[in-house]
Symmetry: C3
């Protein structure tokens, strides 16, 4: 039965590490369309490095603010499938989030100060036979589809405050430095950090600063990729508004030999 508000929920995004080879994502969509033929799907990403929950969490966080109210986000990066890990469902900013309890939703929990979520346990919403290896098809897909036709989130299980909130990387500040880290590396090899513009409020007015990453130093902040010369990494404010290190038409990660979690340090002379 179609419930009130169903139309507004007919948009489902999918974020997995299933790749494009095996048909797994297509199968999930088939299951959902069997329940609600009106669903429109948006693929966020399916080529996430296997089991890289942190990358998936980052992408979901960068994407959901751009989706309309009622959107249902289904994230299945789930190395614990078939174990006793829970599946979580919550609502924030009038959107819905469905994911394993493994930190994939850590930014959602943080941004919206969520302290209670639904643990999905109602088998009435699962496929009749639940496999040990493909909950994307057997649980996530039908749950998202029933949600899309207006079922209330509390129908799918029980409220819990016992779930993995995950840790967000924090900045380390001294009187002449701000140290963040690489939180995402995109397809272009651009290095996205957790340093936001407001962090620079502590830089004394007029102070020149430089950015240290690996054994490299970058002076100041550029305004676009094309500003960088060959073999000359630049720093700029990226699309998520955070400090990004890039190489014009080349991969900064390879050039600088850095990876997820590596330090990025903004420094200035402390003349006072």
């Amino acid at each position: 039965m179609m419930k009130k508000g169903a139309k507004a929920r007919a948009l489902v995004t999918l974020l997995t590490d299933f790749g494009g080879n095996d048909g797994y994502v297509g199968i999930m969509k088939g299951v959902m369309l069997g329940i609600n033929p009106a669903i429109k799907f948006i693929d966020l990403a399916h080529e996430i490095p296997l089991h890289q929950i942190a990358a998936g969490a980052y992408i979901l966080n960068s994407a959901y603010p751009y989706f309309p109210a009622g959107t249902i986000h289904v994230a299945v990066i789930d190395p614990g499938v078939g174990s006793d890990r829970s599946i979580l469902l919550c609502e924030a900013k009038a959107q819905f989030f469905l994911a394993p309890d493994n930190g994939l939703l850590k930014f959602i929990f943080h941004n919206h100060r969520i302290d209670r979520v639904i643990r999905v346990t109602n088998p009435g919403y699962f496929l009749p036979a639940v496999s040990h290896t493909f909950h994307g098809r057997d649980i996530f897909a039908p749950v998202a589809a029933y949600l899309s036709i207006g079922h209330r989130i509390e129908n799918f299980g029980e409220w819990t405050s016992d779930f993995k909130r995950g840790n967000l990387p924090v900045l380390k500040m001294t009187k002449n430095s701000i140290t963040g880290e690489i939180v995402y590396i995109d397809r272009f090899g651009n290095l996205i950090t957790n340093i936001l513009p407001k962090a620079l409020d502590i830089v004394p007015g007029g102070a020149q600063f430089w950015i240290r990453i690996g054994s490299h130093q970058i002076k100041g902040i550029a305004s676009c990729y094309a500003n960088g010369g060959e073999n000359e990494p630049i720093a700029l404010w990226g699309s998520s508004n955070s400090l990004e290190i890039a190489l014009n038409q080349a991969r900064a990660d390879h050039f600088l030999n850095v990876n997820y979690g590596d330090e990025v340090c903004l420094e200035w002379f402390d003349d006072n």
Copy 2:
């Protein structure tokens, strides 16, 4: 002209080896939408290893049971494009299947005991100029689109019982062993076999069994991927319900150095 039942057929899945680089899949969709703007597309897979018909057949078989009645499945892994190979169209389980006559539909034929199919020969349903190299665009796409608006399958050609049925791998049984083979290797390197639970009915009650693959032995059957230790392959009942060999968070195919068609042998002591 829109025929009766057209709405129920507006779902088209696509399975190809065209990849995501060249625009070929998008072009097929453009052709279809020009004929029926209401089509909804589901991409099953497009990164199938080039010309690997067996992998495509496996994926289609794992996917179609999860799609609603009226779905049209278009599979174009077609190394014989432009030769005199036929294009086949059939109906099974109230779904439609369109593919080259090269074994891609072997599971469909087997599962549903299909002994007659349509050979697609009616050029009235093709694009005006049919190329030698891209029948996906020139034949498959318009045929699927006209099918989606309710044209009957016999309009597209003539019935034939002369087509490639393909061979399904069969189990070899002895009094103390069941030997199957690897029928699919997924993105995670999981090895999917053709051994189904019911095959184990011949194992004597209470008998301990082990699984031999390559030079490796696996004891018993685990319940989820996370149960496996590092460098310790496990066996479990996979998402297609068949026996699957996996390595927790790593590739079993590389670790065991095995490939498509390699033997997987379930053995037990015959005490009787």
Copy 3:
């Protein structure tokens, strides 16, 4: 407000070098659906080699003739993002084209003799905060979405005739040869040239010709891929109707050690 003709424009194609890893394409779609929930998306290609504008231009050219009137094509291969490069919008064959001013639309301009386009400058159609690095999200997506609900192209900026028309590769003819070049290499390693059938009108009737590529000679023109033997490249008329060099079930580009822009020469004996 929905404008007249809006329905006819609800089809949007996307062509980018964003890949499937980072969520960038999904974010663009989220932005568009927030403005026009009725948009249907077709992904042309997202795995284009980074910054390869020529490949993108080729794919767009091979695809758009197969899309219905009203389609909006959004192409974002944009190494100059954030610099002062312009964004162009034009209409041709009742379809719309939105792309950076870097040659991506060169075939459209050429095929339709376009001498005026809109330079997109009206910030009223952009997201409130325009980043330096992701105009796909901040400019292209909302512009395409407003276009899809019927806004007129001249609303988005001003007419200009000052834009990069781009150069199409031209054939060199002698009395016993036609020299073209490789303009695209597809996923299968097939080499697509700019030699069209009509170029062969200058070949004397009955003259035998051969095709020289790298250090290799190919005799005559085959009718399908399957005609080629192992390690025996063939030439055939490809799906875009141009001369194509291929290897049956293998990569011609690797076998012949050739690349974009390399010469392909059709020669014959000049007996007169």
